[in-house]
């Protein structure tokens, strides 16, 4: 598709880093849903919340918003609807 915005190798590396940290967060989130008094798991969760925002900010500064509806700011012109969408990478 000729209207597809090209992304470079760094995009894929950062995306994979974010997917890895977010996997940790999903796992800890579900675990904490049934173990709400595990302080070690909670500390890990809160640590990785910080880590995920560092990586997300780096992705967004180069490749545009990750989240819609105001959770990410956009550059001009409006970047949210830029390709590639997740199934296109």
């Amino acid at each position: 598709m000729s209207d597809m915005r090209q992304v470079d190798e760094r995009y894929y590396q950062l995306l994979e880093q974010l997917q890895a940290v977010d996997f940790v967060l999903v796992e800890l989130n579900l675990y904490l849903d049934t173990h709400n008094d595990d302080v070690d798991a909670l500390n890990q969760f809160n640590y990785y919340v910080q880590e995920r925002w560092k990586i997300a900010r780096e992705i967004e500064s180069s490749y545009g918003p990750l989240q819609g509806f105001g959770n990410s700011a956009s550059g001009f012109p409006w970047q949210w609807d830029d390709t590639p969408w997740p199934w296109q990478v």
Binding site: V26, T34, L66, G68, P86, W87
Partner: protein
């Protein structure tokens, strides 16, 4: 409400155009034990489940939508370069005449998704046991799908999804225990 994030939960790669495998994967898209059924089942049950396990149903239900998107991505990538002739050879001629290459919520045999696949009993133990069974059935389906392909890239994504079913089943089993503990505590007073 929900926020969309412009990324897959786990990378989806395929190493070849394979419309036949795409057809089989529809079992996990719009099938009885598929990701759409899972997401809608849990998010619907959460309104009347005891407070102690609402969060778990909410969060697993939400994760299922990320899995639905991964399955859709697999189907899309496996079919996007297929010719009508290749679709016919894969047994997708009937799909092609109705939908072209569009995805549709149906199972591997072309049966449309129906709410009859899911239950909401209002009884928390009955609901959670259904959820555990659903995860185990989905785990089994993922294994059969892995057995049906030699594409190691596709297998990688399917193995991730299979393992998530194992984790979800485990969490639902813990939820049952939490509700039993709560029930037994109430009996003492």
């Amino acid at each position: 409400m929900w926020y969309y994030e412009k990324k897959l939960q786990y990378p989806v790669r395929v190493s070849k155009c394979d419309p036949y495998m795409a057809k089989l994967l529809l079992e996990q898209y719009g099938g009885a034990d598929g990701e759409l059924a899972a997401a809608l089942r849990y998010l619907n049950q959460r309104y009347t489940i005891p407070n102690k396990v609402i969060g778990l149903l909410n969060d697993i239900g939400t994760e299922e939508f990320a899995h639905l998107e991964m399955i859709a991505t697999m189907v899309y990538k496996l079919t996007k370069d297929a010719t009508p002739e290749q679709l016919r050879a894969a047994g997708l001629a009937d799909h092609y005449v109705n939908h072209d290459k569009a995805l549709y919520y149906q199972n591997a045999s072309g049966v449309p998704w129906t709410a009859a696949y899911i239950q909401a009993k209002g009884d928390p133990i009955a609901d959670l046991y259904e959820d555990i069974a659903a995860e185990e059935k989905a785990r089994a389906t993922y294994q059969w799908l892995i057995d049906m392909t030699d594409d190691v890239d596709l297998q990688d994504g399917l193995k991730f999804l299979r393992q998530r079913e194992v984790v979800h089943s485990q969490r639902f089993r813990e939820a049952v225990e939490l509700l039993k503990e709560e029930r037994d505590r109430k009996k003492i007073f």
